[in-house]
């Protein structure tokens, strides 16, 4: 069931993620709740996605550092080589624990941590990607009552990650990138019209 009081959105992606994220952010005119993006990155890339996204949005974009507070309308990017965790006090914690699914940041780790804090107030989105990281985390979100969305694999640059998530989770919605933007734009609002979404 779609609620009207979601508190945060977590997005996971790897291969092809930059283009997918850009499309979503570009089409999203404003966001009233925080969006946290976990993309697998080469360990030496730094602040890249944050810098890249800046021209496309009016929202404040942050690369996450330890203890950064999570604010209402920020867009937050996980830094390369750190896992991103969520504190009950609504601040980010980083960790340099071992890689998970060969990845740091790991989408599963962030999704699980966010889900423990936000429970059914969380929206989890899995986009294009070349490994299965994110499926377990999305499943966790679903079990805690959160809303789950997966990018339509037919339109994804890399189908592996969305397919793995669909197989494991049976997400609430499978959507194209523009539909995801539309969805996020109308999230928590009265004029929101679910008809425009492909229900699965």
């Amino acid at each position: 069931m779609i609620k009207k009081d979601y508190k945060a959105i977590v997005v996971g992606c790897s291969l092809g993620g930059k283009e997918a994220i850009t499309t979503i952010v570009k089409n999203l005119k404003h966001n009233s709740i925080p969006i946290i993006i976990v993309q697998h990155l080469a360990s030496d890339s730094d602040c890249y996605l944050a810098t890249h996204l800046k021209p496309y949005t009016d929202s404040a974009i942050y690369e996450i550092i330890n203890n950064l507070p999570i604010q209402q309308n920020g867009i937050y990017i996980a830094p390369a080589n750190y896992h991103v965790l969520f504190g009950e006090n609504k601040i980010f914690y980083l960790s340099v624990d071992e890689k998970h699914n060969f990845s740091r940041p790991s989408i599963d780790i962030s999704f699980e941590s966010a889900s423990e804090v936000y429970m059914n107030d969380l929206v989890g989105i899995v986009l294009t990607g070349a490994n299965s990281d994110g499926s377990v985390g999305l499943d966790f979100i679903k079990k805690n009552g959160g809303l789950t969305i997966v990018q339509d694999p037919a339109a994804a640059k890399s189908t592996f990650m969305p397919n793995a998530a669909i197989k494991m989770v049976k997400p609430d919605y499978i959507l194209s990138l523009s539909e995801i933007s539309f969805f996020l734009e109308h999230l928590n609002k009265n004029e929101y019209t679910p008809k425009q979404l492909k229900l699965k």
């Binding site: 550092i65 203890n67 950064l68 830094p79 504190g87 980083l94 960790s95 340099v96 624990d97």
Partner: protein
């Protein structure tokens, strides 16, 4: 009462039990990573609830040691963040060289990779013989590994790549000897390093340092413990001494940030303000 509330109670009981039995105080660790580590131990040892961990931890020392290992299991590498080590080499070591002798505290050195990196850097800059490095960690197992200086050969490719990005002046392979599947770093690197057990959460200052390196350690602590550790560092630094923290850590959320000034903000190197020591003492005597 929700499951989440119950888990909070169980976690607090577990941490209390550990503190009272063994003296290790994890009560001020950041909860998100603490939770993950507890969950990891439960999964590996096939334990259903956090509460079930409590008798095991209390009565089974071997099991407690496993838990302790989980708690300090961080992944480190040599010359991690090459740009940081390059800043040390190009900017900080030339300043340190103006002193006749320099004391360095590597706090939370884990298995020692970054300590050997530092030793190599100091050697190449011709300053090693005028330094004493205190490398400390709360985990005795990690300290033993650090003392050995033996690491898997499989990691050398990545370490060499990092080294080359720090403006390395030699050949990285000159610093170790390979044997079978591991390498041992030269004993000459250890000559001025003192490896010791020290728990940042509980232990005190043990000397006046010119530079303290504590990277990716405080991120595992909650705000209160971070402040406590920062004030320990403030107390342990000489006037204008340097503090190096992790590349994604910051002092801006700390109430002690005003006691430091940025030296190289990209590399997260700070400098203690000159007058602080006096003010701090004054402040203490007032209390």
């Amino acid at each position: 009462m929700t499951l989440k509330d119950k888990e909070k109670i169980e976690t607090n009981l577990l941490l209390d039990a550990i503190f009272h039995c063994y003296g290790y105080d994890f009560r001020s660790y950041a909860k998100p990573s603490l939770k993950r580590r507890i969950a990891h131990r439960m999964e590996v040892s096939n334990i259903a609830t956090i509460a079930d961990l409590i008798p095991l931890v209390i009565h089974d020392k071997v099991f407690f040691n496993l838990f302790l290992k989980d708690m300090s299991l961080t992944v480190t590498e040599m010359f991690r963040d090459p740009s940081f080590f390059k800043s040390l080499r190009d900017e900080i070591i030339p300043i340190l060289k103006t002193f006749p002798f320099v004391k360095i505290w590597h706090a939370g050195c884990a298995t020692g990779e970054e300590v050997y990196s530092l030793a190599i850097l100091l050697k190449e800059e011709g300053f090693y013989d005028k330094t004493r490095i205190y490398a400390t960690d709360f985990n005795s197992n990690s300290i033993e590994i650090a003392k050995e200086g033996i690491y898997p050969i499989a990691k050398m490719k990545a370490f060499t790549n990092n080294y080359n990005h720090t403006g390395g002046k030699g050949s990285f392979s000159d610093y170790y000897e390979a044997k079978h599947s591991s390498v041992k770093f030269n004993d000459s690197l250890k000559k001025n390093i003192t490896f010791a057990h020290h728990n940042l959460a509980q232990d005190r200052s043990f000397g006046e340092m010119n530079i303290i390196i504590c990277r990716n350690v405080m991120m595992y602590f909650d705000g209160k413990l971070q402040s406590k550790v920062l004030s320990l560092f403030l107390d342990s630094l000489c006037n204008k001494g340097f503090l190096c923290i992790g590349m994604k850590e910051s002092l801006i959320y700390s109430n002690l940030q005003n006691h430091f000034e940025p030296q190289n903000i990209d590399s997260k190197i700070y400098r203690k303000k000159a007058s602080e020591r006096i003010e701090l003492k004054k402040h203490k005597s007032l209390n």
